[in-house]
């Protein structure tokens, strides 16, 4: 295929797009809607992931000590553990006060002060990665002088379960949306092929190669996919920016902070553009291979 043929294919792709301009606009629009929903799901998944990470990352390990425990030894051991972000020693007196505050009525515990205090001394430990909580808790259980260790196993397990379930759900929805967008492109290109059936027949008699016949449809599909993806990325970016800005200002809970790190966000938008183009190309490839016979 020489340069003239390539130029011709490019020109035909553009001409074909403009010849069926409104059909192309509607197709690109439907691709944009599909990809915007897909992108929206991805952004929600990204944020849900971050929220769960924030919650799980703030899970504390409570290390309760026996009366004869060597506080300094345990502090040294905690310092030596990889993955421990910070730890705080809570003497039994403060533990009782905190417990009272947590229940909202410290007067209830007035009679438990001093020697009657049933609570042991403890360390509150925060870890860097939520998925390290269980392993670190196990190590702490083995420290000398440790009575027992609690970190809300159920909460962590439930959060990890929810994360896995949500990821699977988002993946399935995204796959269905992507498949329906590809199916849409296959149908549109098929219509385009049918509209140009006479021309394709003449081209074969004139000695055009299969690639030459198919290339404009391929370009047309890619252009529609790309235009749809670009529209989706722009609309989604603007909407997300607005939403993230207001959430950042108004959200009171630390874990409801939206993802604003460009390094985490740009792969979503770049991925949408690439996906739209690939979907367009793939849809038209399937269509022309099926409907443009040699």
């Amino acid at each position: 295929m020489n340069l003239n043929a390539i130029k011709y294919c490019l020109r035909q792709g553009v001409v074909s797009l403009f010849r069926n301009f409104w059909l192309a606009v509607v197709t690109a629009g439907m691709i944009a809607v599909s990809l915007a929903i897909l992108g929206g799901f991805l952004l929600v998944a990204l944020n849900v992931g971050q929220i769960l990470y924030n919650i799980a990352g703030n899970v504390e390990i409570s290390v309760f000590l026996r009366d004869d425990a060597d506080q300094e030894l345990i502090r040294t051991r905690l310092d030596g553990l990889d993955g421990v972000r910070e730890h705080t020693f809570i003497p039994r007196e403060q533990g009782l006060t905190d417990f009272g505050y947590a229940l909202g009525d410290s007067a209830l515990f007035a009679g438990l002060a001093g020697e009657n205090n049933p609570l042991p001394d403890m360390f509150r430990v925060r870890v860097g990665e939520s998925d390290m909580v269980e392993a670190l808790a196990e190590k702490m259980r083995a420290f000398p002088g440790v009575e027992f260790v609690d970190y809300g196993e159920e909460l962590v397990a439930r959060l990890l379960g929810v994360t896995r379930w949500l990821n699977a759900f988002f993946l399935a929805i995204s796959f269905l949306l992507a498949a329906s967008a590809v199916f849409l492109i296959v149908t549109i290109i098929r219509l385009s092929v049918m509209a140009r059936q006479e021309e394709i027949g003449v081209m074969k008699y004139l000695g055009a190669s299969n690639f030459f016949i198919r290339a404009p449809f391929f370009l047309e599909g890619m252009a529609m996919g790309w235009a749809g993806a670009l529209s989706a990325a722009v609309a989604l970016g603007a909407a997300y920016h607005r939403l993230a800005f207001s959430l950042q200002r108004e959200a009171l809970l630390f874990f409801l902070q939206p993802v604003t790190d460009p390094e985490k966000l740009w792969p979503v938008f770049a991925g949408l553009l690439a996906l739209g183009t690939v979907m367009g190309g793939l849809g038209s490839l399937v269509s022309v291979r099926r409907f443009v016979r040699a």
């Binding site: 295929m1 003239n4 011709y8 006479e198 021309e199 074969k204 008699y205 004139l206 000695g207």
Partner: protein, 229 residues
């Protein structure tokens, strides 16, 4: 240039072959009429030469090569050496006369400069100078077929295959179109015309190949349409 050796072509679902045991040779620059009643196998024979169909048995040779053995690239090259002319013209309605003719060069990757130079010259040769910007619907049947001929000859083919080229035009236009084919043939291009236009065949006295029920029943130099003529 073309040689058929015991060529038979049968279609699925048909008890009789469309072409039966046909052997013939056609030289470079020859002008040949292919005659016979409807269903005699004329169009199938043209399709076999164009390699749109492959023979069920026997061989079709073009410039000494068995066309059934062509690879994809060779098949394209083969088709680019042949200009096809159809009864229904097969012009693209949304393209102008110029664009229809230029299309034949564009699809084989010729440059815009070559197209600008060649197309007006060919349009002039077929008597359509000044009609380049017209659309097919604005032309008479005879003029539309001239566009079809211009599109076939613009790529300088070795062979023109015409299937009932005068089937949709009046007698005067038929005569002019046949004269045009004769001019093309005189320039060294082989021309094979499948036709029912008995008066043209009788008048021009060219080589006639007559088919009946797929068999070649007559091969006559300077022949007429029927046995009696």
């Amino acid at each position: 240039m073309i040689e058929l050796k015991k060529v038979t072509k049968s279609y699925n679902g048909s008890s009789e072959p469309a072409v039966a045991d046909v052997s013939l040779q056609i030289g470079r620059g020859e002008f040949v009429f292919l005659v016979g009643p409807s269903g005699a196998g004329k169009s199938t024979l043209l399709k076999l030469i164009f390699c749109e169909q492959l023979p069920s048995s026997g061989q079709v040779y073009f410039l000494g090569r068995d066309i059934a053995r062509f690879k994809a690239g060779e098949l394209l090259k083969h088709r680019r050496r042949i200009g096809m002319v159809f009864q229904d013209f097969r012009l693209l309605k949304q393209k102008t006369v110029f664009e229809n003719v230029a299309f034949a060069l564009e699809v084989i990757g010729r440059s815009a400069r070559e197209i600008r130079l060649k197309v007006p010259a060919v349009l002039e040769d077929v008597g359509l100078a000044g009609k380049g910007s017209a659309f097919p619907a604005e032309l008479s049947g005879g003029e539309q077929q001239r566009v079809g001929i211009a599109r076939a000859v613009v790529k300088d083919p070795l062979l023109i295959l015409a299937d009932e080229p005068t089937g949709n035009v009046d007698r005067d236009n038929s005569r002019q179109l046949m004269e045009l084919f004769e001019t093309i043939s005189l320039s060294g291009t082989t021309v094979i015309i499948a036709t029912h236009a008995w008066d043209m065949v009788d008048r021009m006295r060219k080589r006639v190949l007559a088919l009946e029920k797929g068999s070649l029943v007559r091969d006559e130099q300077r022949g007429g349409y029927s046995y009696e003529s």
